[in-house]
């Protein structure tokens, strides 16, 4: 009997495929099209302490084999989330991970503390890599001392498994992952979007309302796979890999690079049933290769042949 279950420190998942933050709302929109309990988990839309209305439109634009988004963390805030989303999420049948965002260390700290006592959450994902907000966001994830200071404050307050979502817009991804490990984070999520821009040549202005946006989709996959590979090689911390996954084959690249779980983002927009499809594809792969569990694939690309 093959198993797809995977372990990321204290976080145990029945299946290694998650929905990536911001691409799956609060799990409700897609629930009529797929059975959420088939998934390893859902990382819900980036949450902030206060409600945020996000950036002016246009917020999305297609690019070659990808897209830019500049949503700007539109979300109902902690209170709205607990009142309106959490009662349903608690019974959605899959692990719920909350992606938390702050403009200040204090905001992250309050969110981590408050959410730690909420029943029905599997983990928190600290987003220090949002390219689409003027304050906080990526500034917390671009320098090792700043990230270290944040984690020293947040880690002790967070009683749930703590994941840190890192940005590809940095020169030393392994250095940042090392800080995460040293400060007690349980896993890193690699990668968030790459900052980019499209210019509307007719209007002679950047097309997005926010001018810049985050690039996601197949276009970023090689960058993401390389970063997972690099962090796996240099730092001993569990990795959730993501960036442009659209098929079982793509997911396998991430596992072989060293990810213990993967997340699917943009592909959900293209094919709402992509995650169940990838999951059955992984199962078929393990059977074909006569492997008992997904663990035997993890990091396979690092082994000497």
């Amino acid at each position: 009997m093959t198993t797809l279950s995977t372990v990321l420190g204290p976080l145990e998942l029945s299946c290694p495929v998650l929905a990536a933050s911001g691409t799956f709302g609060f799990g409700e929109e897609y629930s009529s099209m797929l059975d959420l309990s088939e998934l390893g988990g859902v990382v819900v839309k980036g949450l902030t302490l206060e409600p945020r209305w996000g950036n002016p439109p246009p917020r999305v634009v297609e690019t070659p084999a990808g897209m830019l988004n500049a949503i700007g963390l539109q979300n109902p805030g902690l209170e709205g989330f607990l009142e309106r989303e959490m009662p349903r999420l608690r019974h959605c049948g899959t692990a719920v991970i909350v992606n938390i965002n702050g403009e200040t260390e204090e905001e992250f700290a309050v969110l981590a503390r408050e959410l730690s006592s909420v029943e029905g959450l599997a983990a928190l994902e600290l987003n220090v890599s949002c390219p689409n907000v003027p304050l906080g966001g990526i500034t917390f994830g671009s320098s090792t001392p700043i990230l270290q200071k944040l984690l020293k404050k947040v880690r002790p307050l967070c009683r749930l498994p703590l994941l840190v979502k890192l940005s590809p817009n940095v020169t030393d991804i392994a250095g940042l992952a090392r800080v995460c490990r040293d400060e007690g984070a349980d896993a890193v999520s690699l990668i968030n979007t790459l900052k980019g821009m499209v210019i509307d040549t007719a209007a002679k202005t950047p097309l997005l309302g926010n001018k810049t946006g985050g690039l996601s989709g197949p276009a970023i996959r090689p960058v993401a796979v390389r970063m997972v590979y690099e962090v796996f090689q240099e730092v001993n911390i569990p990795i959730i890999g993501m960036g442009g996954i659209m098929s079982t084959e793509d997911a396998l690249q991430f596992f072989m690079a060293g990810a213990r779980a993967v997340a699917v983002g943009t592909a959900n927009f293209v094919e709402p049933r992509i995650m169940p499809q990838i999951i059955s594809g992984l199962r078929a792969y393990l059977e074909e290769e006569d492997l008992e569990d997904i663990g035997s694939v993890i990091g396979a690309a690092h082994r000497e042949t």
Partner: protein
Amino acid sequence: MQAEAIVRKLEKVAEDIIYLKLEEKSIAQLALPGQFLHIRIGRGVAPLLRRPFSIAGASPEEKAFSILFRVSGEGTRLMSGLRPGDRMDCLGPLGRGFHTAPLKGAALMVAGGIGIAPLLFLAQHLLGAGHKLVFFYGAPSAGEMVCLERFLFNGAETWLATEDGSAGRRGTVVDLLEGFFLEGRISGSVFACGPRPMLKALQEKNEQWKMPLKFSLEERMACGVGACQGCVVASSPDFMGWGARQYHRVCLEGPVFDAGEVLL
């Protein structure tokens, strides 16, 4: 929600405008005027995202529905090469359509360019229910107009406007409609779809006309189902919920809005 429709017919009905008739039972049954389909073009990564198109007509008896599209970029160019028998991956029907009941007076349909598409479906419904209908249709030139009689309008009064004067009145469709209101020749509920500047002009003029006004909006979309917050339009100051300002998702709260709901 997700279905494979089969292409039955593809026909060029005006310059760069293509009428596509498709067969799929559940979409044909469920579709309401104003709703749209989110269509995947091909199986690859270019185009990557689905493309939204209004449903331009539906016939449950024939298990068929149609869309009307303007070739404007790579995705629609590829769609123009579809052939009968080809399959199209459709998500939908999606969004909130035109709620029409109860309707007082005539239904005044105001279409700009390819904005005619959802109004054809609405007209099909309203004519079926015995409503009086007046059509105002504007386009840059006569060549870019689809022939209305071709789509069900025996009996519907139609008025045309073109920017170059090649059909109907010279000018915009909003000017045309305004003429009717100023002369007191007409009143009723207005249903509109067209380019954003046209809808904005309608919304502004309607401050004086004070007619019930609903329009269908376009915005760039990713998911099409409300999950990504990508397709928003600002809500009007009278419709604030949490936060200092709110956005509506065109794909879920729209694409049809009451003129008073949004800030264009």
